[in-house]
């Protein structure tokens, strides 16, 4: 086992860490799925309103790769399909039957699984709508069928602030994890890397025949982009597949039971709720069923995902497919008199410009304040401190801004993902949206390259 310590990075000193207790929520009446969760697809619906669906029935597919199906997380009736501008499909809402029906898929044991051809298992994942859980780098889109990945990286840690701890959330799921890994090994071959945190309690140790690695350090030590860069960096023309431990468990559970996995554990965190913890919920849960009872007074931002990479949603929205944390933070309401001039004992900062630095280990109640206005890039040399990749963040961002594709590639944009740069956006005094700029660059690369 190889161990890595990431020296760069920053742990945002936030309050609202999810409490280590598990609660099972009742099955809700309404579930939903958002095609916009999946980057880079063009969804084509295969159901219409009032259709009856089972758990695992295809709802839509990707026009770019028609084999890639997206299936229903619930058995019942399609009660609404919500469109956005230009008839973009935003949500498919399903009213759940009392007695849900399931699509049936073949069941395996670990031994029969290992006797299967990779192609058979791949087709089963495609048909059941679990293929989208496998993503690829570069571009962080759903894995392509024609890919021949040089490795699969399974990320079993999370260092984002107040995010779910996979070790706790997946406690007791070690066998299913091993099952999922066995299935993925049949599909991608022997080059499977399992990356755990330094404090991992052994949930992920049951996987056999994999390369194990341990990472420690501040965020972004827990990002798969960091793992790839340290273990086996992507060179020109190469690609790797990446998965989250939770999704590997889902795949393991799918092959064991022959049913689309409908349960998952998400952490509810943040200072905008009165109670935090880990909740076993249905995939596609409406956020109000989860956060409703805990929501604090005043305007709150409900984020499906962690504070760095999650998306803000209305309380009627649904839990994102890839998300295993729901964060609620208060929206800013108070004006602060001469905020930029005060000594700032109560203002958290990565830099040493506020006196709060004198109190080590202090945590703060964050709201979603931008804390400033958008400006041109002024200060230099800050981003390097929070990016763990061998790239020059500032120059990469400038290459993207002037849409110089060749320079972007030379500077290593294909090794990067939006999430690797969220801390740059966080610390930028000019409040530049660095991670969004990187995302735009990658989009441009994918379109042109």
């Amino acid at each position: 086992m190889a161990t890595f310590h990431i020296k760069k990075g920053y742990t945002i000193p936030m309050q609202g860490e999810p409490e280590k207790k598990k609660v099972v929520l009742d099955s809700p009446k309404t579930l939903g799925i958002c095609p916009t969760d999946f980057k880079g697809i063009k969804p084509k619906l295969t159901v219409k309103e009032q259709d009856k669906v089972k758990v695992g029935t295809p709802l839509f597919f990707d026009k770019m790769q028609p084999e890639v199906q997206f299936t229903s997380p619930a058995g019942g009736t399609v009660s609404a399909i919500n469109f956005g501008p230009r008839r973009k499909v935003l949500e498919i809402v399903i009213t759940v039957d009392e007695d849900e029906a399931f699509e049936d898929f073949p069941q395996y044991t670990k031994e029969t699984l290992q006797a299967q051809e990779g192609a058979t298992l791949r087709d089963a994942l495609l048909k059941a709508g679990l293929w989208p859980l496998i993503r690829r780098r570069p571009f962080n889109t759903i894995a392509r069928l024609e890919d021949s990945p040089k490795a699969l990286f399974i990320n079993c840690m999370d260092t984002a602030p107040i995010a779910a701890d996979p070790d706790f959330a997946l406690e007791g799921k070690g066998e299913l994890f091993a099952m999922g890994v066995a299935a993925m090994k049949q599909i991608v071959g022997d080059s499977v890397h399992v990356v755990t945190g330094k404090d991992s309690k052994g949930v992920f140790d049951q996987a056999e025949g994999v390369h194990s690695h341990q990472f420690s350090g501040k965020h972004p030590a827990g990002l798969v982009g960091t793992h790839i860069a340290k273990i086996d960096p992507i060179n020109k023309g190469e690609c790797v597949w990446v998965m989250n431990a939770r999704d590997v468990v889902s795949i393991g559970s799918f092959f064991q039971s022959g049913r689309f996995p409908i349960h998952r554990v998400v952490a509810l965190s943040g200072t905008g709720v009165s109670g935090t913890g880990y909740f076993e919920v249905r995939a596609g849960t409406q956020l109000k069923d989860l956060v409703g009872p805990f929501l604090q007074k005043g305007p709150q931002r409900i984020i499906s995902g962690d504070v760095l990479m999650g998306t803000g949603r209305k309380v009627e929205g649904f839990l994102g497919t890839y998300h295993h944390t729901v964060t609620v933070l208060p929206e800013p309401t108070e004006k602060q008199f001469l905020g930029w001039f005060m000594p700032g004992f109560d203002r958290p900062s990565f830099t040493r410009t506020f006196l709060s630095r004198l109190i080590p280990g202090k945590t703060f109640k964050f709201d979603t304040n931008l804390n400033g206005g958008h400006r041109a890039m002024v200060q230099s040399g800050l981003y390097e401190d929070v990016v763990a990749l061998d790239v020059m963040p500032e120059f990469l961002v400038k290459a993207v801004l002037c849409q110089d594709i060749e320079l972007m590639e030379q500077l290593g944009i294909l090794e990067c993902d939006e999430e690797d740069f969220t801390l740059c956006s966080y610390i930028c005094p000019s409040k530049m949206e660095i991670s969004s700029i990187i995302a735009e660059g990658l989009e441009l690369m994918e379109k042109e390259g």
Binding site: I12, M14, R301, V307, W340, N369, Q410, I427
Partner: protein
């Protein structure tokens, strides 16, 4: 504060879309964000942001300039008193008199420069940039106290408009705006900014008061002479140079006051220690090297020891406040070392070969501002090459 907030909110609608003063929204925005930190939320992830913004960043530099400014006021009063043969033992009256001399310069600099800044913000419909808070104070501090106010106005206009706004505003400029303004005055009106007569705001009445800066005295050392001796003859000890009770630009004379500011910049991380250190190292190595070659047929200033070189003229002020301007400096870490080092080297060399005006820091920094992108280019190329090598292995 609630009262003030309410009064302000009453007038806000005039500046909003459709209001009669809609065009001047940037002015409204500026006063509002200066008084209150607004509850403006993030529009996309990450959903939380650091407390540091450019306002606080810039204000740190302004605060760091205060010791140099206060000492500058005292020293201006002191030099005038010396020139007039008045008593110099009371600090407060000297400080007050000096303040009366330099305050108009600062006010003109802020008012005229601020006018351009606001004009460009209104025309371009973007928020007013707080970078000007720094430029507007840096510029007066590198001027002689006798500067005519109209030249302050012309200089800061040139610095802000040509040095910065034509490139797109703070963050886009190639040259340091304050130094651009200073260089413009230097080449356009050399009489008012160089020579021995400009460092007091009054006409000397004392016989034998020369008013020449130590640097000028050192530069006048005869061939093969000892520069320290010429300084001593002129009455300048190393202690005077460090404390700053010497003729010179308003904020540049006191090494101690500048170092207090430097400490703040370094503790808060606002100024780059890499640049400050490498400027001083560059100057140190060059002066020590020149000491070695100093001899009979060479200008006497070559014999000036490093501790004198570092503490006179504008070098210390430039190293701490000018070279560290992040926008016009090199932006890569290795680039910063090279950039700073060459500023130090060039400053000393220009002092030697530009006897008409023996201060090199301004020109050295402007010169290196131009070269900073080139230095960065090569550092970036090195990163690209390293990445390509990885593929070949």
């Amino acid at each position: 504060m609630k009262f003030l907030q309410k009064q302000l909110e009453k007038h806000e609608h005039h500046f909003k879309k459709g209001g009669k003063l809609e065009k001047f929204y940037p002015i409204w925005e500026a006063q509002e964000t200066i008084l209150f930190s607004l509850p403006k939320g993030t529009s996309k992830g990450p959903h939380v942001r650091d407390s540091l913004d450019t306002k606080r960043l810039m204000i740190m530099v302004v605060v760091a300039l205060v010791p140099a400014l206060l000492f500058g006021a005292y020293n201006t009063g002191l030099q005038d008193a010396l020139a007039l043969g008045k008593p110099t033992d009371q600090i407060v009256p000297l400080f007050g008199a000096g303040m009366m001399t330099i305050l108009p310069i600062i006010i003109v600099s802020y008012a005229v420069g601020g006018f351009w800044e606001v004009l460009f913000a209104v025309v371009r419909k973007h928020e007013i940039n707080e970078g000007f808070l720094v430029t507007g104070l840096l510029f007066p501090l590198i001027l002689p106290p006798s500067i005519p106010l109209w030249q302050v106005a012309v200089g800061i206009s040139f610095g802000v408009v040509i040095g910065k706004e034509v490139f797109g505003g703070t963050g886009m400029n190639i040259l340091n705006p304050a130094l651009t303004a200073r260089a413009f005055l230097y080449f356009s009106y050399p009489v008012q900014i160089s020579g021995d007569k400009v460092w007091t705001s009054v006409l000397p009445t004392v016989d034998g008061f020369s008013g020449a800066t130590p640097l000028a005295k050192a530069a006048q050392t005869h061939l093969g002479g000892n520069a320290v001796e010429s300084l001593t003859q002129a009455g300048y000890t190393l202690k005077d140079l460090v404390v700053g009770t010497i003729p010179g630009s308003i904020g540049e004379t006191s090494v101690i006051a500048i170092l207090i500011g430097a400490a703040l910049l370094l503790i808060t991380g606002v100024g780059s220690w890499r640049i400050i250190l490498s400027v001083l190292v560059g100057a140190f190595i060059t002066s020590v090297g020149l000491n070695q070659v100093a001899g009979d047929s060479l200008p006497g200033i070559l014999s000036l020891p490093w501790q004198h070189q570092l503490s006179m003229g504008g070098l210390m002020f430039a190293a701490v406040f000018m070279a560290t301007d992040p926008v016009s400096a090199a932006r890569t870490q290795i680039g910063k070392y090279i950039y700073g080092f060459l500023i130090g080297v060039l400053t000393i060399l220009i002092r030697l070969w530009n006897p008409a005006y023996p201060e090199g820091a301004m020109l050295a920094i402007l010169f290196m501002n131009v070269f900073a992108p080139l230095i960065d280019h090569y550092v970036v190329q090195a990163n690209i090459k390293r990445r390509l090598r990885r593929v070949e292995v």
